[in-house]
């Protein structure tokens, strides 16, 4: 008995040690992630002159002064009164939302086709789809620009420019969506559709009624990731968005004008960007987990 007691104490101590180490690691990563955001949020409610104050190097106590200021929200209100951020947010939402929906709709069809079809050279087709996302944006921008002007998407009209952005976003969302969702479809047992077909469903109906609902978590996860990618885009939006369809990232970068960097505005806009996307983060995790565990359960 005595021996076992010893073992358990040592084991307990060891476990406590690792547990502490684990918490320290989580805490460190927590700080690494949140400190920049915290500083961003704090500085966005300071006047520039306050935001530009840092203590002397090595003055750790002085760091507490980060919290001593009189808050002002004018950077936020300026975004909506002096700039037209409401419209830019709308542009961002329309462009990235539509592109993601298009990408996921077309993409789920293609991903399903790839996962199920016994098509010769299916692997090459699949890789080709992925490879369309690989070309450096800069290298293909000029020919894309030609296509876009040819389609009249760069005329000064909000809807045309938005359409252009949606098309541009689709170029990188669609290959991702296909590639990402393919494995979800592969995980769904063929028997289910076969059963549906025996019961009298057409291919398309079997897809719609049986496969889609089952793959839904994966599709939602793909949708949200597409949303994030296109929501974050800068280079396409800056070239194709023009004035009329300016998106949030472009508008924010323009707060850095020739004569000054509107730090307050930029940081305020960054803070604004984070908050609504938080919920997406939870959603994407939920559906990603659901989508991925699906396959395992079915094994």
């Amino acid at each position: 008995m005595a021996r076992t007691e010893l073992v358990s104490k040592a084991a307990k101590r060891k476990r406590a040690f690792w547990r502490t180490l684990m918490y320290i690691a989580i805490a460190a990563f927590f700080l690494w992630t949140t400190l920049p955001l915290l500083i961003m949020a704090l500085s966005s409610i300071k006047e520039h002159r306050d935001a530009f104050q840092i203590p002397q190097v090595g003055d750790w106590l002085g760091a507490l002064k980060i919290a001593s200021f009189s808050p002002t929200f004018h950077h936020y209100t300026d975004l909506f009164t002096k700039e037209h951020f409401a419209q830019f947010i709308l542009n961002s939402v329309i462009a990235s939302g539509s592109a993601s929906i298009i990408a996921v709709s077309l993409g789920s069809l293609a991903a399903y086709g790839l996962a199920r079809g016994k098509i010769p050279g299916e692997q090459h087709l699949s890789f080709w789809i992925l490879s369309t996302r690989m070309a450096p944006v800069v290298a293909v921008m000029v020919p894309l620009y030609s296509i876009f002007t040819g389609l009249g998407l760069l005329e000064p009209s909000r809807w045309r420019n938005l359409l252009g952005l949606i098309l541009a976003y689709t170029t990188f969302d669609l290959p991702f969506a296909v590639w990402f969702m393919r494995s979800f479809f592969e995980d769904i047992p063929v028997e289910l559709e076969e059963a549906a077909k025996v019961d009298g469903c057409s291919n398309l109906k079997a897809f719609r009624k049986i496969i889609l609902p089952l793959a839904m978590p994966g599709i939602v996860a793909a949708l949200i990731l597409c949303l994030i990618f296109s929501w974050n885009d800068f280079i396409f939006a800056s070239i194709f968005g023009q004035q009329a369809a300016k998106t949030l990232p472009v508008a924010t970068s323009e707060l850095h004008s020739t004569v000054s960097i509107e730090w307050g505005g930029i940081l305020a806009s960054g803070t604004l960007l984070v908050v609504p996307m938080l919920f997406l983060g939870l959603l994407v995790k939920k559906y990603l987990v659901q989508g991925m565990t699906m396959g395992a359960v079915r094994q």
Binding site: R49, T149, S257, T258, V259, S260
Partner: protein, 511 residues
């Protein structure tokens, strides 16, 4: 060419001429009066058309954008003004004109980064001047109505008589320094060097370096560094370096007339003794300057200055508006004095080169896109005329601190008064506490005008340097600045860096 223009005007006999200097100019509300009865139809002929102006996001453009209504009333043209970073403007204009698309009927054409490579894609403005169906503005657009040779700088390239752009705004470098700090620490400086701490138009770069060393060593609580430079890769760095290199011996990369530039500049002078010496001195300056100077562009340097980290900065006049804003700037409230850029120092000059107050600039022009449809070109020309007219520039100046290019604006009595802080018209603001107990409750109405004194002095030869107008300007400055940075970072010696620039530049121009 000037003669032909005048002849044309005479033939048409426009009322506008009669009114020059008359009541239109004097009346600040006279914008719409541009459309004199006989001209009204000409201004209105493109009503309903839609054009795009691709512009850098300079204060004048922001002001014009917010005050676009008079133009709409005058012409009925629907204009969309896109404001972008200079980089992106160059990018978009470049893609557009090289792709021969013409999505932007008119665009902002900085003399070197956009004008030099793309001027052939701009329509010759003389064509529109000659066109009897198009209106005129009071004073006209001849080269003598603009500041000294501004039309040459933005509009003329190489051997081509074509006028590619009208001067739209200007950014001329001046020295900004903290008078309060200079006065406060003058005794310390004197104790150390035996000289008072002052800055005048006679102060040389070598003396500036001395001041920098003093500030960096002293570690005063309210200022850390002597100077904030702007050595960021690209145009910012090129201009920053040029101010030093030109001041010392009027050194230029090539010997061509810098007002017009050259398509094939021939072998460059990089690697000569003067260039190596200047490179070494610039490195020394950087060593004692604000540490981010190598990555700061103009706005970065200005931030360092207005946050009170640097006592001096060579900066473009239009930044005065930010510097004088007490809400953002510790250098506001009369603490900043504007003067010419530093002079060269005899000991920094090889041989008997001349020491000058090296002043450089970027003069933004407005150009008409060659690839746009002819009607849109004409509509865009109307905008170019209007936006560079006296009234518009005067309006912009009073609105957000514009940067006029027309002489007549500088001659307005209230503008003249604004040159000097003592007489400048002020406006009341909500009091802002600068330091403990120091309140600022008014700011200059036209802050940029405070820099016009040195600017009007600096834009003349020999002090002024227009910079290398060469078609491959953009690649050239990349080569130049990245080697300068390597030298400053200690990765290369000044000589190595200069010779590398020489090698790469000559290769670039196929010498």
């Amino acid at each position: 060419m000037d003669v032909t223009r005048r002849e044309a005007l005479k033939k048409i006999g426009l009322g506008g001429l009669v009114l020059v200097g008359g009541h239109i100019v004097k009346s600040p509300l006279g914008l719409t009066q541009l459309a004199h009865a006989s001209d009204d139809k000409k201004w209105k002929q493109f009503a309903g058309s839609k054009i795009v102006f691709m512009s850098e996001d300079t204060p004048p453009t922001a002001a014009i954008k917010s005050k676009i209504k008079p133009f709409l009333e005058l012409t009925g043209i629907d204009i969309e003004i896109i404001e972008e970073h200079l980089d992106i403007v160059a990018e978009k204009v470049g893609i557009d004109v090289r792709g021969r698309k013409g999505a932007y009927a008119c665009y902002y054409s900085q003399d070197k980064p956009i004008g030099a490579p793309f001027y052939k894609h701009a329509e010759d403005l003389r064509k529109f001047e000659k066109d009897p169906t198009l209106p005129k503005v009071p004073d006209g657009t001849g080269s003598d109505v603009w500041l000294h040779r501004f039309l040459d700088i933005t509009g003329r390239f190489y051997d081509d008589p074509k006028i590619a752009a009208y001067p739209y705004d200007n950014a001329v470098a001046v020295m900004m320094y903290r008078k309060d700090l200079f006065e406060k620490y003058s005794p310390n400086f004197e104790a150390e060097t035996g000289k008072p701490l002052v800055y005048t138009d006679k102060t040389t770069w070598k003396e500036v370096l001395e001041i920098c060393k003093f500030f960096k060593k002293a570690k005063f609580p309210d200022v850390k560094y002597g100077i904030a430079l702007q050595g960021r890769e690209g145009w910012g760095g090129q201009l920053d370096y040029q101010r030093v290199s030109y001041a010392n011996g009027m050194w230029l990369e090539w010997d061509f007339d810098d007002y017009f530039g050259a398509v094939n500049p021939g072998p460059c002078k990089w690697g000569d003794e003067q260039s190596i010496m200047t490179m070494g001195n610039y490195k020394e300056l950087m060593k004692y300057a604000h540490p981010d100077s190598l990555t700061n562009d103009w706005s970065g340097a200005n931030t360092a200055y207005i946050t009170g980290l640097a006592a001096m900065q060579p900066q473009y006049g239009e930044f005065a508006a930010v510097v004088e804003d007490p809400k953002q700037s510790k250098a506001a409230g009369g603490r900043t004095v504007y003067d010419l850029c530093p002079k060269g120092d005899p000991s920094w000059i090889v041989g008997n080169g001349k020491a000058v107050n090296g002043t450089n600039f970027g003069i933004g022009g407005i150009a008409i896109n060659h690839w746009a449809k002819p009607e849109l070109q004409k509509a865009a020309y109307l905008f170019a005329l209007w936006s560079t007219s006296h009234d518009t520039q005067y309006m912009v100046l009073k609105d957000v601190g514009g940067t006029p290019t027309r002489k007549s604006v500088f001659e307005m009595p209230d503008v003249k008064k604004a040159f000097v802080r003592a007489t400048a018209p002020m406006k009341k603001i909500k009091p802002v506490e600068m330091d403990k107990g120091v309140m600022v409750d008014k700011v200059p109405l036209m802050p940029n005008a405070l820099t016009y004194g040195p600017i009007l002095k600096g834009i003349w030869k020999p002090d002024t340097v227009v910079g290398p107008k060469v078609p491959k300007f953009n690649e050239y400055i990349q080569i130049q600045t990245s080697e300068i940075q390597k030298c400053v970072a200690g990765l290369k010696s000044p000589k190595e860096a200069c010779l590398e620039i020489k090698k790469k530049t000559d290769r670039l121009f196929r010498v």
